[in-house]
Each structure stands twice: as structure tokens, then as C-alpha cells.
Amino acid sequence: MSDADKYLYGDRSGMSNPLAQADWASKKQVWVPSERLGFEAGSVKEELGEECVVELSDSGKKVKINKDDIQKMNPPKFNKVEDMAELTCLNEASVLHNLKERYYSGLIYTYSGLFCVVVNPYKFLPIYSEEIINMYKGKKRHEMPPHIYAITDTAYRSMMQDVCFLCANLSSGESGAGKTENTKKVIQYLAYVASSFKSKKDQGSTALSHGELEKQLLQANPILEAFGNAKTVKNDNSSRFGKFIRINFDVNGYIVGANIETYLLEKSRAIRQAKEERSFHIFYYMLSGAGDKLRSELCLEDYSKYRFLSNGNVTIPGQQDKDMFSETMEAFQIMSIPEEERIGLLKVVSAVLQLGNMTFKKERHSDQASMPDDTAAQKVSHLLGINVTDFTRAILSPRIKVGRDYVQKAQTQEQAEFAVEALAKASYERMFRWLVMRINKALDKTKRQGASFIGILDIAGFEIFELNSFEQLCINYTNEKLQQLFNHTMFILEQEEYQREGIDWSFIDFGLDLQPCIDLIEKHSGPPGILSLLDEECWFPKATDKSFVEKVVQEQGTHPKFQKPKKLKDDADFCIIHYAGKVDYKADAWLMKNMDPLNECVATLLNQSTDKFTADLWRDVDRIVGLDKVAGMSDSMHGAFKSRKGMFRTVGQLYKEQLGNLMATLRNTNPNFVRCIIPNHEKKAGKLEPHLVLDQLRCNGVLEGIRICRQGFPNRIVFQEFRQRYEILTPNAIPKGFMDGKQACVLMIKALELDPNLYRIGQSKVFFRAGVLAHLEEERDMKITDVIICFQAWCRGYVARKAFAKRQQQLMAMKVIQRNLAAYLKLRNWQWWRLFTKVKPLLQVTRQEEEMVAKDEELQKVKERQLQAEEQLQQYETKQQQLNAEKLALQEQLQAETELCAEAEEMRARLASKKQELEEILHDFEARLEEEEDRVGQLHIPTSGASGQIWRERTAEAGDG
């Protein structure tokens, strides 16, 4: 427990350290930008107009810096604060410093207003146990230290309170920042909290199946990770897709189902990987985990044989691909995905790899491609259940519709290769989508929609590379939208708080700030946004990426968020000013990426595959953009694709729609934001690169949030605390005795003579503009220092007076000594004195007598005491004798009693025996009595016999008569 406490509460003892406080107050400490550390602490030494001389605390060097570059430091009271919105000096440097200090102390969670910021610890922390879950269950956010559980619990509670209320937990951040890990923690928490209720309340028949649902919910992740995650340079288990998990609850707050939606799978990873990176995990799991039977069934080969695994077998430290395979298969089992579907999935995975091994050659006499070795093609055909000849033909010379007729058009080597790669990517993506669909089917237990849900969005944050492509545009567009949502939420919440506290103040909706940029990307018309222009361009026959850029510049060139590159032309095609910063986009292959073309012939073949699974994957072939359409652009074929307009949709369109749906859902929720931050790129624990973190803070809106905060009254203090801390500043403002908190604060503020614009007094708190508290804190410190100095003066006075008194005593003593000494010097030669000194030893005799007397007296006393003691002793002895005698008497008495008792006993025995004898005699007599009675009886019988006879004779006589 205490171990976990360390990672939750940390050590904030420095907070009230008066030393640090004094240091801060006296030195005028500030933050100065630094190349290496982001910011360095320093203290202002001198102010020269626009510039300041600052002495750096660490090196002691003095630097001259423009005043605008300096950022104020917070008083030490705010060290390692749990909510950075409390910081009174809200600036980049302070936020970074706070995060850093907390991170170094093992505190990875920090609030920043609405946000919860998490820094990846890169090590196991003991803060995710069931014990901790129970600690957070039902607690309010401010009652406990920051934690993802606190956020989750808040979401859960607010969902429970208001049945139709929906919550979303949004995490976004750079790859490796811990988004997915935190998402998993949220699910873990919900699965625990929402099901433990159940086992307590109704342990009926439903309990078991619900337990299963939670298990499945937790198992969905390993499956998605196996297929959608990969090792990248930054992250060993990087999610290559975004997801929105929706957990449905019933009215009682129990989990009744879940649904997962995925976004933007990086499918190109299936065919190519950068150095030291891996393709999706499942490839490696399968290749090292499949048994012999499965291997032959899936036509598996060695790592090195696959061209699509660019780097061969790359292993992840601490992870056994083989074990992971069986774990994934187990997860499938729990998900109740049957064997044949699993095999179907793996066949597609294997086929994707095999596609890479198809090699083409240019024919000697023409541009046409040929395939000298069709082993790979055969394997692919076998795995996907299609005819190998048809397949080869479809790749090498597909049938293309020209006008009304179909012609066979031979493909060049490049075209064939492109087609195969596109096919591999599409297959993988379709397989992934199918998998998600299948998981959703497994997780959707109820037919009816749950009463409410908690949504968890796990999506990448802003991506700003040197040059950015279509994928980055999509993700940045998403983030722009999410940030707008955040700003809007903040606006709503702030306004609520102000209303609750009865403060009149109009908050600006900063959500509107982002609208221009969003319009630039998504607007449909007038002028059309970038995505619309891209779609439009896809319809044009001769369009190229370049013509697209020209069109964008022509339509949007004057847009405030749009910039033409100032650098050389080949660097970037255009820039968009996202709120996170300026992003350079390079429009290479955007048309291709947007249309995502496929070889139609192959698609049709797959649609008719004998393999049920494959056929299922390719159900919707007519939505595909044919390869010929793209080819048409370069080949100047006459707008053939127009005929198919409206049948298929571009990637941009699909994504826009998907995002639109997501935003509609999120807008109805009560969002909670979690921002994940990667501390370094080396996957190292306990290291934090300041610039890396600053960039992320800028990108993920934490700093933006702070900027918005500063517009309002970010510092709030409850009346009680305000009074306690700052009463010293207003010594006579509050009359003695009890006073209502609010009234007292009003008086204090009046006494402080603050500008009315700097504060507001609410129902329970005082609100301050950013920086006001720092000022009060500074004044408080000065005041304390003043008082202390005066008190020290008194102390010095006390000490000095004590010392003076002592010295005066010493002086007195000295005088006495001197006087005596002087007297002696004078007397030394005086004859009488000398006589006296001679006589003095003799005087001792009389003294001896005196002493003798004294001793005698003493002796006498001692003797008396001795006598007394003896007397006492005697008394005690006699007493003892008496007691002894008494004791003897008692003993004798006892003896006598015992004897008497023995006698009595004897007597009793005798009497008893006598009684015995007498009883025997009695018996005898009784026996004799009986005998006698018997004899009397016998004597009677003859008499009765005689009388009977007489009676009979009489009756006989009567009968006769």
C-alpha cells in the first residue's frame, strides 16, 4: 500500500518549506529559455528597460534577456501541484517544471484543468491493483490523487446520475505515449466496477454470462493488438489505428455490451516497413507459433522468404511471438470465434505475405509484364480459393471496359506490382475490418441499445513531420475537430462554474477559433475545402497531384489558415496553420491515396472465391475504384470512370463521414480528456526530454487549454483557505470573533485594494485572474519577512539585555574582588594584620571545640534515632510473638476441632451400623409378620370352603324345592 502511495501522493513536503518560500520571495526567481533544458531557473538581478540581467541558479552565470522571454516562477507552495490549473503563474515553463518534478517523483498523472496528463513511466507502477480500484471507487475527483481511475470513475458516475448522459474519455498523444495502455486501464476499471456491483446485487442466472462479457471485453484488446499493432522505432507495441470503444450499460449501471470502431489503419505497413520496424504482430505470431499441420495448411515459409517482411524476423525484447500466437488463439476462443473463421483469417494473413513474393518481369520485346515463376501465385490462389490461371491473367492483362466493350489490357511490370501491393493492402484492411465487425458481434449481447454508454477514444494526436502526407492531414483534421470539442466543453464547464458561483462574466467560446481551419479542410463548397477539392480532382481525367495543388492554391490561396510554401518548391506543396502549429504538406500520391484503387478483375475473382471467408470479405466489390481509372489519368483515356461516378466513395469522403458520426456522438457526451505524453524516444524510465515534452504539450492542447484558462479566473480559493493564508496581509480588516467566511473575504479583499477586474467573489470561493495569487503570495512573504526581522530584533535585544545584565553582575563581582584585594595590599604590612594572620591558625582550636560540640550534638541525635529504632524493633518483635502465640492457639483449636470431627465421624459410623442392624431386625420382623399373615390367610380358606359348600347345598335344596 505504502508503495502505491508513493506513486499516487508523492512527497510534497517542499510545499510549505519556509526556506524555499523565502528563497523564492527574496530572489525574484524566474524561468529563462534554455537550449538544453527547455527552461532554466534564475533570479532577476537587475532590470534595464526592456532587458533584464538574470543569474542562472545552477551555473551562476549572468545572462541578459529580453523581458518578454522571461516567465515567472510559481511560489514553492505550488510545487508538484496535482492540478496545474491551480498554478498562479500559468506558463509553459511552470507547466513543464511541474510535470517534470512530478515525473521524477514517480507521479505520472497530473491534472491540468479539464485534462488529465499522463507521462509514460516506461516501467511497471503498482498503482493498478484491485485495491487501488477500490480506493477510487465512488470518490470525487479532488478527493484522490490524479489517476486514470479517477477520470473513469467520474465518467461512470456522471453516466449513472443522468441516464441519457454519455461520456467519452479521449486520449490522444504521440505514439508510445501510453494511449492504448491507459485505454486498457479504463476498460479494466469499468469491467471491475460495473461487474462487481452485479455479483453483489443479483447473483442470479445472468451473473455468469455477464462475467463472460467482461472477459470478452478485456480479450478484444489482445486480438486487436495482434492484428493492428506493430513495433515501431518509438514503441514496441504501437497501435497503427485509432479506435473508439463504446461500452454500453443498462439502467443499473451494468455492462451489457460493447462496440468498437476503428479509424485509419496504417495498411501500408503490411507490405513495407522502415528500418528496425516490424509489420503487424500477427505475421510474426503466426510464423513462429503455427504448428506443423497449420503451417502446411497455410503454406507458411521462413521469415527470410517473404519480401513483405522488409527486415526479416525482428524480435521484441521480452516478448515470445510463439506464446503470443497461442494467447491470441485463446482470445479467439474466449471471443467464441469458431475454428473455421480463425483459419480463414490466417489464410488471408498468409496470402498477404505470399502476394509479396509474386515477381514480375518486363518482356523482352514489349512493355508488358510477365510472371516467370508462378509458385507464389499458386499459393495465393490456393489460400484464397480462386483459380490460378484466372488470377494470373487478372493481374497481367485485366479486362477493362472501354465504352461498352471489354478489352484485355496488358499491364506493365510497374502496374502489375502496384496492383499486387494494392491487393495485399486491401486484403489486410478488409480482413481487419471483418475482425472488428466479428468482435463487435461477439460483444453485442443485447438486442436493444443500452441505456447509456461510456465511449473511449484512443487516437493519435497531431502529427507534424518535416513533410506530411494525406494520412497526416486526416489525423490532424481529426485533432482539429477534437480540440474544437475540447474548447467548447471548457467553455460550457467554465460558464457553469461561474453561474454556480453567481459571478457575472462572459466567457469567449474558443471553439470558434478553430472553425476556419476546419472549414479549410472539410468545407463542401464556396470555396470548397481541401478534401472536397481532392475528391473533385479525382474525377478529372488529366488530373495529377500537381494540378490538385494548383487548384487548392487557386481556391484557398487567400485563406488565413493556408500558406503557400516560402521555401523551395520541392520542399512542400502547401502549409496549413493548424492550431498546434504550421504543418507542411507534400501532395505526393494524394489522388492515388484518396481513391485507393484496386484491380477490379481480381476483386471480382475474390468475390466469387470458393473460400466462403474470402468471398465474404469481398462482398462489396462495386465500391472499388478500378485501377484502370487511375491508369487512365496518365494514359489520357477518355473519362471512362465518369460512368461509375457515385458508385464508389473516396477515402477522404469515407473518413469525413466516419469522423462526422464520431463527433456527433461525442458532442452529446460529457467528455473527459486524457493526454498522454512520451517522455523520451529511448523507451527509458525516469528520463524526460524537455523539448520533446514541450512540443507535445503544445500539440495536444494542454498549453492551449492553459491559454484559455488565463482568459478567465483560473485561480480559485475557498474562503476558509484564503482567510487563513492571507489574513496576515490585512491585519485589522477582520474584527475579532466569529465572522462568516464570505464576509471576511470581502473585507480582506477590500483591505487589499485589488483592482475589481482581478477578482470575483463567488458563493464559496474567491476567483482570481492568473498571477494575482503569486502577487499576494509575494506580499505575504515580504510581510512575514518583515515581521520576522522585527521579531529577530527583539530577540537580539533580549539576548543583549541578558548579556548586559550578566556583565553588570560580573562588574559587581569584580568590584568586590578588587576591593578585597586592595584591602589586602594595604593591610599586608600592617603589624596588627600580620599578627592577625599569625594568630588565625590558632583560632582554629576554638573552632575545633565548636566543631566537637556540633559533632556531639550530631552523635546525640543519631543515638536518639538509634534508640527510637530499637524501640520500634522491640515493639515489632513483641507484636510478632503475640501473633505467633495467637497462631499457635488457633492451630490447637484447629487440632481440637479436627479431633472432634473425627469423633463425630466415628459416632456417625457407629450409628450407621446400628441403624443397619436395626433395619435387619426390622426385616426379620416384617418377614415374620408376613408369615403370620399367610398363616392367618390359610386359616381363613378352610373356613370359606366350608361356607361355600354350605351355600351350594342350600341352592340345591332350593332347586329341588
Partner: protein, 182 residues
């Protein structure tokens, strides 16, 4: 017994410097407020007591202590300002006569320490973490030895002797009273 009276004369020798000095002292005294008068007499004695050399002067660095001995509570800053912010060397070597000292004393008397008992109690209450009227002795030591015009260890030992209870806590109201009682 008679001879005892005589030795007094030689003893006085330590003080004769003060005696003549005392003579001019009453001269400026009438000018300021009459209440200064009793101070002057003791001032003479105190001043003499601090003269270690016997030149009827005291060193700069003793001035503050003499004033304190005379019941004043100047801060080091006050005294420094009065002396014209001398260097450490000057503090040790420069000396001042009683005539020079007296106006200084007067200045200090005329501008007494503004803060009072209430202020000190409020000031120390800041360090009262539990709000029970006490502060940790150790904490008070740190406060007095690190903040403001830092006190040295010997001074603090003299201040705190017997003030801490068995838990190492100090009732600061009583403490302030104690300090201000002398």
C-alpha cells in the same frame, strides 16, 4: 573595616572615563524629550561597560548591543543605516565616543520598532501547521536562523533555553511574551 573604604578609589579607575563623559551628557539631554533623561544615566554606565580599550569610545560593532542593553530593539539594518553602512572592517575598527553615540541612540528611540506583540504572534502563526498554538522548536530555529536577519546558533540557544515542551513544541504566544518581557 575602615580600610575597606579606601580601595574604592582605585576601582573607580575603570570608570573615570565615563564620569567626565557623563558631564556633557546631560547637556544635550534637555533638548530632546525629558523622558530620555533616565536613559542617559544608564547609558553612561552601559557605554562605559562596553569600552574595552579605555579610550572612552566603543567599537561600531558594539553600538547595536549597547542600544539593546538600554532597552531598544533596533534591527541590524536600522543600525547599519545609522552608521552609514560601514564595511565589516570598519565595524570592527571604527570607534565612537559617547557624544557621538547619544544622538544615534536618540534616533533609535524616536523610531521604535513598529511591530508589536500581536504582529509577532500572527507572524509565527504562519508556521503553526496544526493550528493548535504551537510550532516545532526545530522549525522555529530554522526560521530564525535562515530568514531575515539571521540569528546565529548561540543567540538562538540563548533564546530557546527552556522554551520547548517535552514534544519539542513551543507555545509561541508565551514565547513572544517571554522574549518581550526583558
Amino acid at each position: 573595616m575602615a580600610p575597606k573604604k579606601d580601595p574604592r578609589a582605585p576601582i573607580k579607575k575603570a570608570e573615570p572615563a565615563a564620569a567626565p563623559a557623563a558631564a556633557p551628557a546631560p547637556a544635550p539631554a534637555p533638548a530632546p524629550a525629558p523622558k530620555a533623561r533616565p536613559v542617559d544615566l544608564s547609558a553612561v554606565k552601559a557605554f562605559g561597560l562596553f569600552d574595552r580599550v579605555g579610550d572612552n569610545k566603543v567599537a561600531y560593532n558594539q553600538i547595536a548591543d549597547i542600544m539593546r542593553a538600554l532597552g531598544q530593539n533596533p534591527t541590524n539594518k536600522d543600525v547599519n543605516k545609522l552608521l552609514g553602512s560601514p564595511s565589516a572592517e570598519e565595524m570592527a575598527n571604527k570607534r565612537v565616543t559617547f557624544e557621538g553615540f547619544l544622538p544615534m541612540l536618540q534616533t533609535i528611540i524616536n523610531s521604535p520598532n513598529k511591530a508589536g506583540y500581536e504582529d509577532y504572534v500572527e507572524g509565527l502563526r504562519v508556521f503553526d501547521k496544526e493550528g493548535n498554538g504551537t510550532v516545532m522548536g526545530a522549525e522555529l530555529r530554522i526560521v530564525l536562523s535562515t530568514l531575515g536577519e539571521k540569528l546565529n546558533e548561540a543567540e538562538i540557544d540563548a533564546l530557546m533555553a527552556g522554551q520547548e515542551d517535552e514534544n519539542g513544541c513551543i507555545n509561541y504566544e508565551a514565547f513572544v511574551k517571554h522574549i518581550m518581557s526583558v
